[in-house]
């Protein structure tokens, strides 16, 4: 029986469940603790920083020669902004680290931080992106006089003509409010200086350890080889832990300068105000349909608030440029025009969060289609059916190639599982009892597993994408794979072990995956953008095939059988015909210790490496939500939530289901609950869990998951990325369901989260 495709429990879980995991804070014992003093103001000139008379406090003047963080794009009118590690002259958002206080324990460090006085001459802050576009008299950064840090526009030739000819046009304004990725474990790092080697080891809760090493070494002007970055157990990242943060540069600087061990463990308040945010966008959409409801043209204008600085390495282009490139999603739209701008404000920087712009653009497209369906008077899924891409490969107006997928099939299966006619009857019945049920769909695709060809199109000075896997069989017969990806809760070690086990005919228990340590793994890009199974998994399969060939060639000589007639199974090399076989442990021992007999075949030892750098593949899904709206309070109850997902070949369906469930929970948060709120002065009003509202188990329904498997050669494993999809669908599905429930009132909500008060306001506006 194959290992790939099995619902194998994750090998990562037992130690975590036993409390034997080692997270960054577990490694901080005995370190000197760092508390950051953060700006209480959104914008102003630093007049003076008064340090207490006793205690170690580090400010910009101590960091002489340390370079700022300056990520760059080479296209799209990108304006590079320097983010100082600690600012000397100006603060740009509430929560920006201004000084670091160090003491023997955290309480003492916070006491010391309390005694640092920052004298700031306040200036009026610019908080909202649209306000920042208008209000250019006092730009956030003088380098960007219009407050626009990145701007791109596309227009195919016949957009205006197609729009003019359209039988019907539909417009809407989408508002996606700001959200936090909200990992369970916040950020943190422990930097330790080794006196013997002069090296620093930074253990940190991060997703891209190699990139972090490069970034910190560049800032400090130190040899990269003198820094080791290790991601130990990481309690969720969701994109928030991709970026290079000033705090980590300070930690490594402290370790080198003070030749000691220093730790910073972020608390929840810091995480909510001073880590990164996401999803703060405005979209204006206009679509033209022909008489049969076929989309003729789409025009969108995207304004993304990118915060005070650009995130490293992906830059503040990440949200607006992804929205621009992927807005049409799985729909056939020949004529497309779009403009996307990333606008800087005096708010916490924006960085990737699971789904990046796609929850918002899927919300925009799916709201547009539901509005159009209501206007035309047909079922929303019927309108989608007329517009979804059905033949593959399909080249989008932006030139992206959509590989084989199941857009219509997934939707039809979801509608069948819901039993659409039966639901409509139940909905009518409920309405006679004064109850308001609604059904909403979200059909979308998820660009995943893309390598340097895709990132290069964004003109990134640092272009991520490839992955390398180094694989060896040890003399005692286990397989060690060293990967550049950096899993942090995804179960990737289990999934990769399944791939290797099939290729090499061993149990997954014989496989060890080594990840997250720059001393022990090849340079790689870490784990983000639904890439790890596709790219690192693809490279793993390629490496496994090479290792299999090496093992079989040794076996061929020992068993006197051609290599192509040898199978690896049950931990042994076996001749396909006859009885001859050899346990892999015995074979491996000979390969290393009688190597002179085989070096002409395999060189010295059993080790290989392989790389993979694909262009990318699109997974897809249909989400369906049934909700009940309490029209008196505006409260929403999710009665049923269903996902039909197509991620190609499933390596481990149990892990895929977990990915989808977690993503859907975050998507429900985005649809109904979570919102970072600033006041007009730039104070953040949602700095604790009393005010920032992640849903709990009481708000998350059972999530039904069904799978389709479109196999596509865009992925070497035929597997597609599935890390983000769960989070992409819910805002569209749930708000469409709310509007369906309230269709009698003519309520249309194009703002997320759809809070009870916003729903009530829409009801009142329609009643008035």
């Amino acid at each position: 029986m194959k290992w790939v495709g099995r619902r194998l429990p994750r090998s990562e879980d037992p130690p975590l469940l036993r409390g034997e995991g080692a997270f960054t804070a577990d490694l901080a014992l005995g370190a000197r603790m760092v508390a950051f003093v953060r700006s209480p103001l959104a914008r102003g000139r630093i007049l003076e920083i008064e340090k207490p008379e006793t205690g170690i406090v580090i400010t910009a003047e101590d960091l002489e020669g340390v370079k700022p963080i300056t990520p760059r794009l080479t296209k799209f009118n990108y304006v590079a902004i320097e983010q100082p590690i600690l600012p000397a002259t100006f603060v740009h958002y509430v929560g920006q680290a201004v000084a670091a206080a160090i003491a023997d324990d955290l309480a003492a460090a916070e006491d010391l931080a309390d005694r640092v006085f920052i004298d700031i001459e306040p200036e009026d802050a610019v908080i909202d992106a649209r306000q920042a576009l208008q209000d250019t008299q006092r730009p956030v950064h003088p380098e960007a006089p219009g407050n626009v840090l990145v701007e791109a526009a596309v227009r195919t030739s016949a957009v205006d003509a197609s729009m003019d000819k359209a039988a019907r046009t539909v417009s809407l304004s989408v508002r996606s409010h700001r959200q936090s990725a909200f990992p369970l474990e916040a950020r943190g790092g422990v930097a330790a200086f080794d006196r013997a080697s002069g090296r620093v080891t930074l253990h940190a809760s991060v997703q891209m350890p190699h990139m972090l090493r490069t970034g910190i070494a560049d800032c400090l002007g130190m040899p990269e080889a003198d820094l080791r970055v290790v991601a130990p157990d990481v309690g969720g990242g969701f994109g928030q832990k991709m970026s290079l943060f000033p705090e980590y540069v300070v930690l490594v600087w402290l370790a080198r300068t003070h030749r000691g061990r220093f730790a910073w463990i972020e608390d929840r308040r810091e995480n909510l105000i001073a880590s990164t945010h996401s999803r703060d966008q405005y979209h204006e959409l206009k679509a033209g349909f022909d008489a049969a409801g076929r989309l003729q043209a789409l025009e969108v204008d995207i304004v993304a608030n990118v915060g005070a600085f650009s995130c490293y390495p992906v830059t503040c282009g990440v949200e607006p440029l992804m929205a621009l490139a992927e807005y049409p999603g799985p729909y056939r739209i020949e004529h497309y025009a779009a403009r996307a701008r990333g606008v800087t404000t005096n708010t916490c920087p924006i960085a990737p969060y699971r789904g990046v712009s796609r929850p918002a653009i899927t919300f925009g497209m799916e709201r547009l289609l539901d509005r159009a369906a209501r206007a035309i008077g047909i079922e929303p899924i019927e309108l989608r059916r007329r517009n979804l891409v059905t033949s593959f490969p399909y080249r989008t107006a932006m030139g992206l190639e959509l590989d084989r997928a199941s857009y219509v099939e997934a939707m039809d299966q979801a509608a069948a599982l819901i039993d659409l006619p039966a639901f409509r009857e139940r909905q009518r019945q409920a309405r006679t009892e004064g109850r308001h049920l609604g059904l909403g769909f979200a059909v979308f695709n998820e660009r995943s597993g893309y390598g340097t060809p895709a990132f290069a199109a964004r003109g990134m000075e640092i272009t991520p994408g490839y992955e390398r896997v180094e694989m060896a069989m040890t003399p005692s017969g286990e397989i060690e794979a060293r990967i550049g990806a950096s899993p942090h809760g995804q179960g990737l070690k289990t999934a990769l072990a399944q791939i290797i086990a099939d290729e090499l005919g061993v149990s997954t228990e014989r496989v060890r995956i080594i990840a997250g340590d720059t001393d022990r793994t090849p340079y790689g890009w870490g784990t983000f953008a639904s890439r790890s199974v596709v790219i690192s998994g693809g490279a793993t399969k390629k490496a496994s095939e090479k290792l299999s060939l090496a093992i079989r060639s040794v076996a061929a000589r020992l068993l006197q059988t051609p290599a192509e007639e040898i199978d690896l199974e049950d931990g042994a090399a076996r001749a396909r015909s006859g009885e001859a076989s050899l346990p892999l442990a015995q074979l491996a021992r000979l390969a290393y210790h009688q190597n002179h007999q085989f070096s002409d075949l395999i060189g010295h030892g059993l080790s290989v490496q392989a790389d993979y750098d694909p262009a990318g593949t699109f997974s897809n899904a249909c989400h369906a939500a049934i909700v009940e709206v309490d029209t008196a309070t505006g409260g929403v109850t999710i009665e049923r939530y269903l996902v039909v997902e197509d991620a190609g070949r499933l390596i481990n369906p149990l892990i895929v289901d977990g990915q989808i469930r977690g993503g859907v929970a975050q998507g429900i948060a985005n649809a109904l609950f979570e919102e970072i709120v600033y006041d007009e002065d730039g104070n953040i009003l949602t700095s604790s869990l009393a005010d920032y509202l992640p849903p709990t188990m009481s708000e998350i329904p059972e999530i039904e998951i069904h799978h389709l498997q479109s196999l596509s050669d865009a992925s070497y494993l035929e597997a597609k990325g599935v890390g983000e999809g769960g989070a992409i669908g819910p805002p569209a599905a749930i708000v469409n369901a709310i509007c369906d429930a309230l269709a009698d009132f003519g309520v249309e909500i194009d703002e997320i989260p759809a809070t009870p008060e916003r729903i009530r306001r829409s009801l009142e506006a329609r009643a008035a």
């Binding site: 955290l106 309480a107 916070e110 006491d111 309390d114 608390d267 929840r268 308040r269 008196a632 309070t633 409260g635 609950f673 709120v677 009003l685 949602t686 604790s688 009393a690 005010d691 509202l693 849903p695 709990t696 009481s698 708000e699 809070t755 009870p756 008060e757 009530r760 306001r761």
Partner: protein, 286 residues
């Protein structure tokens, strides 16, 4: 998120605790369940110099009945009310209310009296205390025991009639006869959250006629408040849909609400009407 430095005292007897409160009441705080105080200290919003931990006091953890009243000792935890503690309307409504208080770990630590002393306007027990005309019994080392009516107890947000040297030793709730009907409703964003509005309704019937009515509203202003106009529309009436709706509208009109990021003043006032109507209907169905 570490608190500022403080001294910690753990009295073993009520006399010892009251003496400590006399000495440190102005700069200190009583620690009971700590479910509001400790987070406030970690945010450094509260910086008491002394914490007087009353959890070791032997005689505050009692729930008993005397003279038609339920006597709730100063250390009784919220979770004690998750199951009916007494027969009748009070016994039926207490578990409904308790289920709205945060989450189980908090309910097993936080105390009824601590909730009153903290006087968060969103606290369910404060609204109940006002609605059932509870009496709060406070004791100090110098002045002994005094009894404070709930209507005189809540002064403003986080502020009560308690003196710095006083400790709530018990709270007395009347145990009503079966001709009373109670209802409680609240609306919050998530299960266990601070409510955006809550309503407690108490109705005394004589046959089909309402003879006495009290409606207490919480979580919309600085303290819980009685909706007196709404209650008076009910007295003498037979409860039907029109009467209930009129009372709910009266409550909405008479309550002054404040707004915040979770709900504007208008929305909260609207919810006062909805919660009042639902609490009254729940009382009728009880």
């Amino acid at each position: 998120m570490k608190p500022a430095a403080f001294d910690y005292l753990a009295p073993r007897s009520r006399a010892e605790a009251l003496a400590m409160l006399r000495d440190h009441g102005d700069t200190g705080k009583v620690l009971a369940g700590g479910q509001s105080l400790v987070p406030a200290m970690n945010f450094r919003l509260a910086r008491p110099e002394v914490l007087i931990d009353i959890n070791r006091l032997p005689d505050l953890d009692h729930l008993r009945f005397e003279d038609g009243r339920m006597i709730i000792g100063g250390l009784v935890r919220h979770a004690r009310f998750e199951h009916p503690a007494v027969e009748g309307p009070l016994g039926r409504v207490l578990p409904i209310i308790a289920a709205h208080i945060a989450h189980l770990p908090i309910r097993t630590r936080g105390t009824f009296a601590g909730s009153l002393a903290h006087a968060d306007p969103a606290a369910e027990w404060c609204t109940l205390a006002l609605g059932v005309e509870a009496e709060i019994v406070a004791e100090s080392a110098d002045r002994g025991v005094r009894c404070i009516a709930a209507r005189d107890f809540f002064k403003t947000i986080f502020t009560t009639a308690l003196e710095p040297d006083e400790l709530i030793v018990e709270t007395r709730l009347p145990v009503p006869a079966e001709n009373w009907r109670y209802g409680f409703q609240e609306f919050s964003r998530r299960a266990g959250d601070y409510a955006l509005a809550m309503a407690f309704a108490a109705l005394r019937f004589d046959g089909p006629t309402i003879r006495e009515a009290r409606i207490a509203i919480g979580s919309v202003g600085a303290t819980p408040v009685l909706a007196g106009n709404a209650a008076s529309t009910l007295v003498g009436a037979h409860a039907d849909a029109g009467v209930i709706e009129a009372a709910a509208a009266a409550a909405r009109d008479e309550i002054e609400a404040g707004g915040d990021i979770h709900g504007s003043a208008d929305y909260r006032r609207h919810l006062v009407g909805v919660m009042t109507e639902r609490a009254l209907n729940q009382a009728l169905a009880a």
